[in-house]
Symmetry: C2
């Protein structure tokens, strides 16, 4: 099995939804990505946490088989994010962000991870993403995520990062901001023009689009969930399912990519059914295969 | 071939888009529906126009084989709508509406149309829709559209209408307003609870969802168009493709409905490529089949 290395955040999230409030639960881009990818591949996680990080959360991530040798504990407090979906379940309103130890995150990649064939650069400072890439060697497939903040403040560094990746994952707002194009095809073409082989635009409850060099685009709806509990982490879970499947098969042909997209969407649909990564605690491969089949059936026209 | 009877508006539209301005072009819900459905079935149109309605527009509708015996010319001016997509290509801002002869529209259904097996009640006053249904007999399939204005001002009459139809077509904003549910599955279930066998929620550039009694839901993206000229009429064109295909096959089994949904989306994707119904003047069945195949391929995961 091919290992995936993910570098990103491990956080404590406080989330308000129309139905409930969830305090200091396990969150962070690297967490969601790892847990999701772990259903397909082995995952090595690189992130930083503070001394206040609950042991039970560490155990929880480990329970998915995620290798935590790269999870560094620093003096100080863990990165915290507080968000609200009370007004709109599809769009988080950030109430508070406390970077804490994440502010000085300088990822140290364990030597044994440096030749990881699969790497996912979760949403962190593009300068750090570039720094990480300089410390890696011989990758087969590098995925990369980002956000509005970096697009606006470090667009140039982000472009440099993207040039070195195989796949860029952005949501539609980010893709539009970055490309200056409101049309999804134009935005996709712009992202491909920066160099990567694949550009994946995530559209939340509306699904996702995948653009490839020298192949037709793919466009899928999201698997509809009647009772959405908390959409936090859906994007990273999507990327985890996508890259987990690519790593598992060790291929990037058209059929594999179609499957990867479907598994990404399938995994994202589970995330939103509970807070944090809780839904994955009661998930098995049969559930995943069942929903993945239903998903294909849903749009078989 | 089974004929479809459509009752709705024939209008003169003035439309501003980020690229261009289009003055007093042929528009109206019944126009878009008829032209789209005409590629699959024979269509009989019932609407009202003023004496100022250009002969060339009448000829244009006729050129698609649409039967205009039910197009009544009244003293006065034709219904006019002025809209702008300058700020948002996905959402029309109404600049001006002049109902003119449409204000007193009291549809007279020609006797030979009364037993039409397929009927589409385009977006008009629900009381009129009910009045029309009282004058019809022995239908196999009745489709119905509406809008926010009627949902808010005549919700009760609209519910009565929907109870008598086979399929309700609403866009997502309308479905949410009507159901009080922001979740698409819940909104779909609500619409089905009013009685129809099918509830179709149109999501603009994000595609469409179809909910059925006793069958799984379908969810499709929109066929992506790189150069959207004018989205006006996409919803009615969608309904025209959907119902045109249902009428052509004279069936409503699961496979037919899946095809109908795909043809609806395919036809809608053509509309937005030009102003008015212009795109259909240079469209043939081969083009439709080609795009319909591409559409299925786009989301084959």
């Amino acid at each position: 099995m091919n290992k995936i290395l993910v570098i990103g955040s491990v956080a404590l999230d406080t989330i308000a939804t129309p139905q409930a409030m969830s305090k200091e639960v396990l969150g962070g881009s690297a967490t969601y990505f790892s847990v999701s990818a772990s259903f397909f591949s082995d995952v090595n996680l690189v992130a930083t946490i503070g001394k206040d990080f609950p042991v039970k959360h560490k155990r929880l991530i480990k329970s998915f088989g995620v290798d935590l040798r790269g999870l560094e504990t620093k003096k100080g407090k863990t990165f915290r994010w507080e968000g609200s979906y009370v007004d709109d379940l599809n769009c988080a309103k950030t109430i508070d962000t406390q970077l804490n130890v994440f502010a000085d995150f300088k990822p140290v990649i364990p030597r044994e991870y440096k030749k990881s064939p699969y790497v996912f650069l979760a949403n962190i400072d593009p300068d750090l993403q570039l720094f990480i890439l300089k410390n890696l060697k011989g990758q087969r497939f590098i995925g990369c995520d980002s956000m509005n903040h970096w697009i606006q403040s470090k667009g140039k560094a982000l472009k440099k990062t993207i040039r070195k990746t195989s796949a860029i994952f952005l949501n539609d707002t980010e893709a539009r901001l970055f490309s200056g194009e409101s049309n999804i095809i134009k935005a996709g073409k712009y992202l491909l023009s920066l160099g990567p082989r694949f550009a994946i635009i995530k559209r939340g409850e509306y699904g996702a689009a995948l653009f490839c060099k020298n192949a037709s685009a793919l466009l899928i709806p999201a698997y509809p969930i009647e009772d959405v509990c908390d959409p936090t982490g859906a994007g990273d879970t999507f990327a985890g399912g996508f890259m987990g499947y690519i790593a598992k098969t060790n291929k990037t042909d058209a059929k594999t990519v179609r499957n990867a997209l479907a598994y990404g969407a399938t995994m994202a649909s589970f995330t939103v059914e509970d807070f944090s990564v809780n839904r994955f605690l009661r998930l098995n491969k049969k559930d995943i295969e069942g929903r993945r089949r239903k998903f294909a059936e849903l749009m078989r026209v």
